[in-house]
Symmetry: C2
Subunit: 281 residues, 2 copies
């Protein structure tokens, strides 16, 4: 497996892969890899000849008061995990390689990026759309793989790819969970033992909502209220949002019909976790 | 010569060109072609195997109160001109082909896009950067050709290409002028006979500034004042801006040293014309 730190190295690798007529899959990550990332890698391996994993904690998608500095990093461990998975290359640039002096171009996806995490984290999706555009332009992948845990991110990127005529297929892969239901996240390492236990309320809430829909409840408001009550009963949990929205436009809805998104963001201590599920009625 | 109306047609043409190992040059235009555009085409023909000219009056780069509806169009004449020039293909999509329902992704180049025309025409360069990104993603050209008459546009696009890692070489081509000095522009057709005569003050002013620099003047303020006086002496002229800025960052400067940009935007009746020149000290 090759480890690249510069754009030029990646370009020359991709050119040689292309000359052999092989297809390329990109798995963009911020590193500190877990089984969720590896499920993206496996999906990419299944459908592309060559897989490149990018590992880059992207500064432009963090607010100044967020955890950019402390975001967990362990490149050595990531390299070992990715090599075991049979990936051909890692692209792990420094911030200066991606954002040179005078950098001032950004990709903005309006609409779908403005609710949920876009409302809680202003500028977050601008940073995501910008870095993903850069990665697409550097790697020129046939397909790119994203986790459904960041459901809104997937919607933002699909919108961007369609709007800007990018030639890449976006493939989203189901959430991977711990045995007890907690969605895998690099930020789970921030949790104390008590917070880790409290965070199970996320998965419990998603399950509860599904049950309610199965029992015939169709009012988004009723279900949200039930979930808010459930989460508020957990003393260590602080709700950021509980929303039920249309897919793929992420507009508020009143009546649950067809497939809709239930999305949660909740703080446990200093750690903000997200989770989501599709409700089907 | 082929005339394409859809993205899919262009993609399939470009794929076949690529399979033959040929290089592709793109000349993005808004049509109503003149010798300025044709000089871009000639430059593209010189350096690329296959040249595609896009003809698209891009709605997102016009303000609601600007001349999008009335902007001159004559596709039949454009097709003939481009065919004569030996171009392989035209891409002339309808607005709906480029901006489908729900379109909501934009490319913003901050900094260099905020002065000059960016100040006079809010949103203009966002529209330009967005449509040029789309065209680059559709055509995937090796090189793209832009006129120096839109000097700021060239700086915005070069910045965008560098920042977003786009794999295209940006080539800028000198301004083409009428014999009497008026820079060619599709908007020149708007001018009445008197306005056409008055508009010569633009070229006269650029010339005057060069003379002043040659005579040893180094104060940007002095030169601007002299030019403003010259333009104000022309009763049909209304100044939008007269600026002397650094290259390529387009920052205000006080002392002329090295190469700097003198940029003019002046209205003659309802018609806003721009012109510019590099001053060398």
């Amino acid at each position: 497996m090759r480890l690249f730190k510069t754009v030029d190295e990646v370009r020359s690798f991709i050119n040689s892969v292309r000359r052999e007529g092989k297809t390329v899959g990109l798995v963009p990550t911020m590193g500190y890899l877990h089984q969720g990332h590896l499920s993206l890698v496996h999906e990419a391996k299944r459908s592309c000849d060559v897989v490149i994993v990018s590992i880059f904690v992207n500064p432009t998608q963090f607010d100044p008061n967020e955890d950019y500095q402390t975001y967990p990093r362990d490149l050595q461990r990531d390299v070992a995990l990715v090599a075991d998975a049979g990936v051909e290359a890692i692209f792990a640039p420094e911030a200066e390689e991606m954002y040179s002096q005078g950098f001032s171009s950004f990709v903005d996806v309006t609409g779908v990026s403005e609710c949920l995490c876009g409302a809680s984290r202003p500028g977050h999706f601008r940073g995501v759309a910008t870095v993903v555009t850069k990665l697409f332009n550097i790697v020129l992948p046939d397909a790119a793989f994203f986790g459904q845990k960041d459901f809104q991110q997937v919607m933002v990127i699909k919108r961007m790819v369609a709007d800007l005529n990018m030639s890449v297929q976006i493939i989203d892969v189901p959430i991977v969970r711990e045995e007890d239901g907690l969605a895998l996240s690099s930020r789970n390492v921030y949790l104390s033992q008590e917070e880790r236990k409290a965070a199970l309320v996320l998965h419990r809430s998603l399950h509860l909502a599904k049950e309610q829909v199965n029992e015939g409840e169709r009012s988004a408001q009723q279900i949200k209220e039930r979930i808010i009550k459930e989460i508020q009963a957990e003393p260590l949990a602080n709700i950021d949002y509980v929303e039920i929205l249309s897919v793929p436009d992420l507009k508020p809805i009143e009546i649950i019909k067809g497939n809709v998104l239930l999305a949660l963001a909740v703080r446990f201590g200093k750690t903000r976790l997200i989770d989501n599920s599709i409700l089907e009625a």
